[in-house]
């Protein structure tokens, strides 16, 4: 029993360590960027996670209209990235994508710097191939059969490149649950600090307390089940 518990703990730690390493690297990246060009922008989080081209556009925009950025725009949608800059003109559509944001900024008559940047970066058109298929291409096959007396042919089209079945999806679900749990956790790693989200790194203290809480909850469930299975006392003889 104890050996099983330790094995489970070891397994969960092995699953946690890549996340820790990832988070540590991520934190370092964001801090180094915040010391750079667009530290006043408030979107260092998204900039580090998205890419270099994205951050380039946001720096240019911040130089063109830095005052409007700070005043009202970046509050609601700083996590979504650079588009939050223009939310002084189009607040609701900042997250929805490049095309709508761009059109609204055009109608508002933004500066020329802004429009050229957007037409290049956020045009909404297909910018190129984002993924490549390697190996054998699955072309599909057609199955002929009968359904309620009618001859039917069902074509099994090519699949998405990964198997819809298997165990790896559970790994993704687990890691996503860990990440989202850390966000929703009251002592989690990611905080909303009025304008942007800050990652202070996962807290080991919170892990330990979480572990204690989990053990207590499991014990309570165990006690509840044991109590319900043991039956109700109908008679007690005391000596």
């Amino acid at each position: 029993m104890i050996r099983k518990v330790f094995f489970t703990l070891l397994l969960s730690l092995l699953l946690l360590i890549p996340n820790m390493v990832d988070a540590a690297g991520f934190r370092g990246g964001s801090s180094s960027r915040s010391s750079g060009s667009f530290s006043s922008h408030g979107s260092s989080y998204s900039g580090s996670s998205h890419g270099s081209s994205y951050s380039g556009s946001s720096t240019r925009r911040s130089s063109s209209s830095s005052s409007s950025t700070r005043s009202s725009g970046s509050k609601s949608s700083s996590f979504s990235g650079g588009s939050s800059t223009k939310s002084s003109t189009s607040k609701s559509s900042s997250f929805s994508g490049g095309s709508s944001t761009k059109s609204s900024s055009h109608s508002s008559g933004g500066t020329s710097t802004k429009s050229t940047t957007n037409s290049y970066q956020r045009s909404g058109s297909f910018s190129g191939r984002t993924s490549t298929v390697t190996g054998k291409v699955y072309s599909g096959n057609t199955t002929k059969g009968y359904y309620r007396g009618h001859p039917v042919s069902v074509h099994h089209y090519y699949h998405a490149g990964y198997s819809p079945f298997g165990w790896f999806g559970y790994y993704h679900g687990f890691t996503m649950g860990m990440f989202m749990g850390s966000m929703f956790h009251p002592w989690g790693a990611t905080y909303y600090t009025g304008g942007h989200y800050t990652n202070y790194g996962p807290s080991p203290l919170a892990w330990i307390i979480d572990l204690i809480i989990v053990i207590v909850v499991i014990y309570l469930l165990y006690a509840l089940v044991r109590r319900s299975k043991s039956g109700r006392t109908v008679y007690t003889r005391r000596f």
């Binding site: 109700r232 008679y235 000596f239």
Partner: protein, 101 residues
């Protein structure tokens, strides 16, 4: 042969079981209470020398009765089987079958 043991003999069996388990005398065992559950389980609570109270279930009580019959009445442990029960009229009892297989 069928033996029907009353409540006092069931308590004796519990005392013998606890004494053998804890290496003490049966007289030092204090049976605090016996509970009858609605699913047929019988739980005894006993302590030694006023120490911590422990719970003993059906199998342990029955094993104590077997040990009691073996050690104090010279029955052969290998040829005994039985069960313990509770009724409101009789209280706690045990039915032990000897050489009935």
């Amino acid at each position: 042969m069928k033996l029907k043991l009353n409540e006092q003999e069931v308590v004796d069996g519990i005392c013998v079981f606890v004494a053998n388990q804890r290496n003490c005398r049966p007289e030092d065992v204090d049976v605090k209470e016996i509970d009858a559950k609605d699913n047929g389980d019988i739980i005894a609570k006993a302590s030694t020398h006023g120490g911590q109270t422990h719970k003993y279930d059906n199998d342990e009580i029955l094993e104590g009765i077997f040990q009691f019959l073996e050690e104090y009445h010279s029955f052969n442990r290998e040829v005994m089987y039985g069960n313990i029960g509770f009724t409101r009229t009789e209280g706690f009892f045990a039915e032990i079958f000897v050489n009935e297989r």
